[in-house]
Structures are given as structure tokens and as C-alpha cells.
Symmetry: C2
Subunit: 352 residues, 2 copies
Amino acid sequence: MKIYRYEENPLITPKDVKPYHPGFEVIGAFNAGVTKFGDEIIMLLRVAERPISHDPNIVKAPVFNPDTKEVEIYEFHKDNPNYDFSDPRVIKYASKDKFAYLTSLSYLRIARSKDGRHFTVEDKPFVYPSNHLETFGIEDPRITLIDDVYYIYFSAVSPYGVGEAMVSTKDFVHVTHHGMIFAPENKDVLIFPEKINGKYYALHRPVPKSNGSPEIWIAESDNLLYWGNHQFLLGLREGMWDDGRIGGGAVPIKTERGWLELYHGASKDDRYCMGAVLLDLKDPTKVIARSEKPILEPEADYELEGFFGNVVFSCGAIVEGDIVKMYYGVADTSMACAELSLSEILDSLTYL
Amino acid sequence: MKIYRYEENPLITPKDVKPYHPGFEVIGAFNAGVTKFGDEIIMLLRVAERPISHDPNIVKAPVFNPDTKEVEIYEFHKDNPNYDFSDPRVIKYASKDKFAYLTSLSYLRIARSKDGRHFTVEDKPFVYPSNHLETFGIEDPRITLIDDVYYIYFSAVSPYGVGEAMVSTKDFVHVTHHGMIFAPENKDVLIFPEKINGKYYALHRPVPKSNGSPEIWIAESDNLLYWGNHQFLLGLREGMWDDGRIGGGAVPIKTERGWLELYHGASKDDRYCMGAVLLDLKDPTKVIARSEKPILEPEADYELEGFFGNVVFSCGAIVEGDIVKMYYGVADTSMACAELSLSEILDSLTYL
């Protein structure tokens, strides 16, 4: 499959983003939701900021306080036996396989472009943590345009777990909050851009604890706020590139052959690739075809190295004719874009 | 607090239930949903059956096959190093803290009574596993009557995780299936018996993996099928009787002081008690008061010993004036009932 990575990649890096919090540094501008808005392409960046630390033995955790609306900083010495600091993204409990804090606070910030290659980042957050379910930050937005409303949904992270919240906007200025639409633990929600047989559909990715794996489910709704009739859709494949965890990526693309979903799959050792799955046009609970091999793998240096390397992770694509402009986060650090052929992707799938 | 345990306790034991599957034994008739139906009290029992094993070194796992509609039996030798057989309820993976199979298959079966003390168990299942999300069984039903429809919801267990499915009936003969209403991992769903400010509400108990705990959340709906606006409601209390896991129990009881929810709380060493929490009448997302001490603890011999001892676990209560007839599963084995005073429960709570 031909892959055309933009010469301008990475399109946005942390250096392009001015910290919003005094005394913080931007360590990530990545995993952006993408949409056309008028004559612009908007990337809604996940911006991750962390308190600057001058002591390598101190790990800091920023936490949004919903009462004061301020960010508080907790400090941990790396000698603290109660915690495990081995993953740079989180502070884990030493005694159990759960995280206690994140090492950065993420929020959503707009970057605008006329050509899809050169972006201007706005000075302030567009969506910022606002309640006690978002105290550890909000992450990995996706954007679905339905009629004239942009629905934006993202992971909301707090001590209560990771769920999916939603806001909406018509103008990327005014925002309406709709609360948490998928309860913990859930990530990677994707809302289809139109009703199918009278119902809205969404892909989602529960993370069950007692049994089961991080796999893709589908749910239905009649108003986008309330969801039900949850069905299992797509699972891990042992020994393949997507045997660790999978989740929806871009908003499903309507094609003649079916709904094409670009999804991410990680191996057990956390190498994140992008693949594709084709769902029945009239019944998206039915899988028609799936990638045997990734359609995009981490290969460029900006994909291999960064805050958390070996990651390509798309949250949005723009389709123009046969061209899929897949925007994707790289190495949990920056944004990039690659163009692929829609028909080549469809032809590459293994039909069930 | 005065607690009147029925002299007839346990009201139903496994011996009272004829196995539905040839070659199986009933090991549990417990955690029943309860409702009034005409002049009867109906207990919708969770009946757990397991294949009879003549070799103590063989552990069997019954699995419903949704294609053939038959139950298949997998056998495991206790020497198998890939599995951990230490919990009699489940076969765990040795390498990770997840279960691979259950050792019994549960389904729902009706028991009827005129006096609430003497029950007749029907010969056949009322709700039985019917799809690929229920292959390990269905468990722990609750019943909410709204207008003239009984909504019955229960845990659906499969290799894909544990979620909450719903059916409805008007006559306890004909059943309509509504699919899975809360995605994995979720249990202990309770639907309020009327709309509040134009919305239906449900308590639910997600089990997040990456962080957070098994705690009680509340969601809203406009049609009982699709749910959203998930909010955290009630948490664990470190060092107390409910510091391990909590979940809703009986359908919320409307009182002058608020919605009274009888919930279960387990300690870290899996001792299950019943407690109570009072929610605002007009806004059930607000907690008004909560039990400091349990309102019922495992004390009777049938509560202390059984398939999984030290458990009282209510899924339903009948309220008559000031009397709360709390039906509850004991030791994951049988059913019992205790009468408590509604006003005494309310007076015993600690108001926030």
C-alpha cells in the first residue's frame, strides 16, 4: 500500500504550543480529532502539560480541583515504596496494577489550517477539565459532524476511572457540555456521522477487569446522549499486531462497500499501529472485512521516538475523493499526517 | 436495629430446586429479584447448576453455545499449571488476575408464594442464556415495575466480560429481550420505579481496570433502553465494612425523606453486608445520608456457611407500611428474608 507521509511531518510538536499553565511545559500535542470547518481544517489537539521539575528524583502529578478551578501539584519522591514510577505517563500503585495519578494534565486545544499542512495553534484551551470526573485531564478527542453540530467526545480521567464525555459546538467558540456518555472504563468512542435504520451508532472500547479484553463494541442511541444495546464487535487477534488492545480511531467513513473504520491496534508490548475494518452499510454491527496487516506502522523517526515511542494513533481523517488524509498522533508527542488511497485500503482488506 | 429473620429461613435452598440440565446439580438458588405480582410474591431466583463431577481432581466449566443452544462442558485437571482453581466459583488464569471460566451456569427461575415464606419453584427456567454475551450465564436479577411492565435486568457473563442485560414482561410468562443496557464491566443495576424530573434513573456499578474501584454510579434515560449522563454517586470507605466493593441491592424505596437504597458492601476479605443510603427525592444524584454500620450482617449459620460463605446479598425487598421485607441471598447458596423497620433504617443513617 502506498503511504505518503507529509514532508512537513511532524505537523505540530510540543515546541509549537505555548504552555497554558505557568511553570508547566508542553510534552505532547497529539491524538487530535480532525474536521473540516468552513474553509479550514481544524485539529483539536490533545495538549499534555506537566509541571517543570528541576529535581530528577521528584515526580509531579498535576490535578485539576473542580471546586477552586485551579490545578494542584502533588509531588512524589522516586524512593517512595508505595508507588511505581516505571511508566513515564503514570504513577502506579506498587501494590496493585492500577494507576494513582497521571504525570501530565491533558486538555483540548484548537489548531487551524487552510492547507492541512501548516497549522496555527490557538493561545488558550478550547475544552478544559470542568468537573470531578475530569480532574486528571481530558484526552484523545474525536469529532463527528451531524447536521450543523460538531459532537466532540473524549476520555475523561479522574480517580473514579476513565470514561467518555461529550460536548457539542456549532462554531468552535461556544461549547455545550453533555456529561459522561460512556461510563468507566471506556475510551475510543466514535460516533457514526448519520443515522442507520433510524438509530445513531457508536463504537466504543470498554476495558473490563474481571475477564475480557480491551476490544471494540458497538452501541445504539436515538439522541446521541443515551446509549444502549451494546454488542461486541471486534476482538484481539493472538499473535498478530493487534493482540494487546484495539480501539476505534477515525470517525467511520461511508463507502460503497461499507463503513470503513480506521482503528488502532497495539501489540502486547505496546507498539501501536493503524488498521482498518469494514462494517455493513445497513447494519454496522456486522463485520465484513478486516486488515491482516497494519495500514500504517511506526517507521518514521518521529513515530519511533518520543514521550512514548513506537506509536501511530489516529483520531480523525479527512476524505477527499480517493484520498484519505489520516491525521495521527506520533509517539504520544506530536501530530503527523499521511495520505492513503481509499480504494487501496478497501482492496487490502481480508473479506470474511 | 431490630432484625426479624423468618423462622422458615432459608426459604429456598438448592435442594428445593430440581436441576434443569441432566447430569447437573443445583448448587445455588440465591440472589433473587423480588416483586409483588397479583396476590403473589415472586422471587426470580438465580439458579446456579454445575456438572456433577465424580473425580475431585477434575474441575468442569459449563458453557452455553448460542449456535446450538446446548450447554457444553469443558474439563480441567487441577494439575493444569495454566489455571488457578483456588476460588470455587471461577477458573482463573494462572498468569493474570482474570477468570477464564465459571464453574457453574446460572439462569433465572421463578418461585411463587402467597405468604412470602413458603415458595413453589417452577420446573423450568424463566430467563435462560440466549446469546453470545450470556454464554457463561445470567445472574443476580432485579425487578422494577413501571406502569404495568416488569423490567428485569441481570448480569450477563461471557468471555467478552460482564455487563447488564434487560428483559421485560407483563405476565411472567412472555418475555421481551432488550439487549445489553450497560456495557462491561458492570453489575448491580437498579432502575428507579418512576421518572424523576422527567428522566428515568438507574444505579449501576462499573468495575474499571486501570484505576478506580467497584463503586456505585447513577445514570439517566428517557426510555429505559439507552442510558447516559453517568455520574459517580457512592464510594468505598477505607477501613469500614464496605471498603472492598459496593453495589446497589434492592430497587430504591420512595420515602418522605428520600429514595432509600439498600446496598451491599463487601470488605476487602469478601464479607458481604447490607447497608443503606438515602438519595434526594427530586435529585437522586445527591446523597443525603448513609449507614455507618451495616443494617444486616452475616450471622445466622446459613449466612456464614455455604458455597461462598459470609455473604448476605439482597436484590429485592417488599415494603408494607413500616415493614421492609428484605429478601436476600445467603452464602451464594440459598434465599432468606428478614423484616426491618423502615423508620428505624432511616433513623439509623448518618446524615451528611
